[in-house]
């Protein structure tokens, strides 16, 4: 369990964007860019060169959120000690405003699969994830936020609901939560539940960051809608509406726009951040 004095999330309750190197100049030239930037930890684990130079420079001007995509918190095997050491090093020198990872697995038997893979919500998984999060927070020396996944299928063996599972992880480990509102919408559509009732059951008090992103639409074998979390387009209206539903209950939070494939011009990304600002502006202070 993490000591509460190390729960040091310092992201402002403002819009942020996922940083893409092609936007470097515009972000620095823009008079009013965004409140903060998020980076994928693994892209900044080289020894030097342009990525680290850009990050050092950006970190002097913006709060930075370090978002890991490769730790495999839900992996059946032990966490990769080399990767944990690299995270500790990055978080150590950068001293970011926030550090987060995913409720997922991606590495098995030292093979990294480059995707966020799903987990059964069982007591056994719970124990393992809590032990891994304890190890991460102990090693990195600060609180981590855990993000809810987008789900395309369910496990027969699951015995917990996702909100209860996340609440219990946060209670046992002292980790914070990163609520991906698009992921809730995607999972709710794919697994046929109400996104509002998910939010009603979700421990909003533990949320320190919100994610929004675009998804693609497909169909399953039975002609039912199958939404895919692609981060390759604008956030859709029902997800903006769900954001309002969340903010009405949580109060202001840092809100991130994620756009990772078919990355658009800065102006398009910036317009999405403006829309997030409008959503934050409409909640009473």
């Amino acid at each position: 369990m993490l000591d509460s004095s190390r729960q040091s999330n310092r992201l402002p309750a403002a819009p942020g964007v996922g940083y893409k190197p092609q936007h470097y100049d515009q972000i620095l030239d823009h008079a009013h860019p965004v409140g903060w930037l998020e980076i994928h930890a693994e892209n900044y684990m080289g020894d030097g060169g342009r990525p680290l130079a850009q990050l050092r420079h950006l970190s002097e001007k913006f709060p930075i959120s370090v978002h890991g995509v490769g730790l495999s918190i839900g992996g059946e095997g032990p966490l990769d000690p080399d990767h944990l050491a690299r995270l500790k090093h990055l978080v150590g020198w950068l001293n970011p405003a926030s550090f987060s990872e995913h409720l997922a697995w991606s590495t098995h038997d030292s093979h990294f699969l480059n995707d966020l893979l799903p987990l059964p919500y069982t007591d056994e998984t719970l124990e393992r994830i809590c032990a891994h999060i304890d190890q991460v927070q102990e090693t990195v020396g600060r609180q981590m936020l855990l993000e809810n996944p987008s789900s395309y299928l369910a496990f027969e063996e699951s015995s917990w609901s996702e909100p209860d599972f996340l609440r219990e992880i946060a209670r046992r480990t002292g980790c914070g939560l990163l609520l991906d509102v698009n992921n809730v919408f995607v999972s709710a559509t794919n697994l046929d539940f109400s996104p509002q009732s998910y939010i009603d059951a979700y421990p909003l008090n533990n949320v320190h960051e919100i994610h929004l992103g675009g998804h693609d639409e497909d169909e399953d074998d039975h002609g039912r809608p199958l939404l895919i979390d692609s981060h390759g387009r604008e956030v859709v209206d029902p997800v903006w509406a769900l954001l309002d539903y969340v903010l009405d209950r949580s109060g202001p939070k840092p809100v991130l726009i994620e756009w990772d494939t078919d990355v658009p011009d800065w102006s398009v990304l910036r317009a999405e951040a403006d829309r997030a600002q409008a959503a934050l502006d409409r909640i009473p202070a």
Binding site: G70, H108, S110, L117, A154
Partner: protein
């Protein structure tokens, strides 16, 4: 019915394998193509990573052929680390072992070059020695030892590797002529660039890296390559900011 990650991964990497039991939709029907979303994410993201990592190979083979090769490669060599910036380490060897590509013997060396450029891009930063660091009397130069930037990389090839690379990445570059070419990669600031090394240059650099003085390295190199051009080699290193320190052990007087 529980699904282990071993089972999940095996089905993920083998498109012909059955979807594991114990995965279902909201109506408790078998997951079917819902599982394919994960299969697709893995294959597409790793294929995309291979295209980005090996742009010249992609250009030489064509995008569709590269898709096919990447599909075979990623199943044989899934990434061994979450650092995707270094994915594809085994690709040169994989290409060399592909019988269908044996008529393009130079492909493996092109892949080695693309890997080396990426490693150089992510290497630690360093401070180049001042431009006048070697403006010293010739009798002292031969006694000097050099240290190189971590971003310096050397590739030896039995193929005209530099000319092949140029022909496929520069407009109007001349057609490669037969012969062997060694390459020096330097990274003046953030962008690594390959240069053609004079004959013997790769040996001379290896001698310097082993701790020999400029003079000793020159003697060893010119014994094998009488035409070795030390001045041209030093000029490439200096222009690329690849020399980080010059130290001279003066003889006791």
């Amino acid at each position: 019915m529980s699904v282990s990650q071993t089972t999940f991964r095996a089905a993920l990497l083998d498109p012909s394998a059955a979807v594991p039991d114990g995965l279902w939709d909201a109506a408790e029907r078998p997951a079917g193509r819902r599982f394919s979303v994960y299969r697709n994410n893995v294959a597409v993201s790793l294929t995309e990573a291979m295209h980005q990592a090996f742009p010249v190979i992609t250009q030489l083979l064509g995008s569709q052929n590269m898709d096919g090769l990447a599909g075979l490669f990623l199943r044989k060599h899934p990434p061994s680390s979450p650092l995707m910036m270094f994915y594809g380490e085994e690709f040169p060897e994989f290409l060399a072992g592909m019988e269908q590509l044996s008529h393009l013997g130079y492909l493996a060396d092109v892949a080695r070059l693309e890997l080396a450029l990426r490693r150089s891009y992510h290497s630690a930063d360093s401070q180049a020695a001042p431009p006048d660091a070697l403006a010293i009397p010739p009798e002292e130069i031969v006694l000097a030892k050099l240290e190189f930037a971590p971003s310096l990389k050397v590739l030896r090839s039995d193929w005209p590797l530099f000319s092949i690379w140029r022909f496929n990445s520069e407009d109007g570059a001349p057609k490669p002529a037969p012969g062997s070419e060694d390459i020096l990669i330097t990274r003046p600031e953030f962008d690594p660039a390959p240069h053609l090394l004079p004959k013997g240059g790769a040996d001379w650099i290896a001698h310097i890296q082993a701790g020999l003085t400029i003079g000793e390295a020159f003697e060893h190199t010119s014994a094998e390559f009488p035409e070795f051009d030390l001045g041209a080699t030093l000029a490439l290193l200096l222009q690329g900011g690849a020399i980080t320190s010059v130290s001279i052990e003066r003889l006791a007087t």
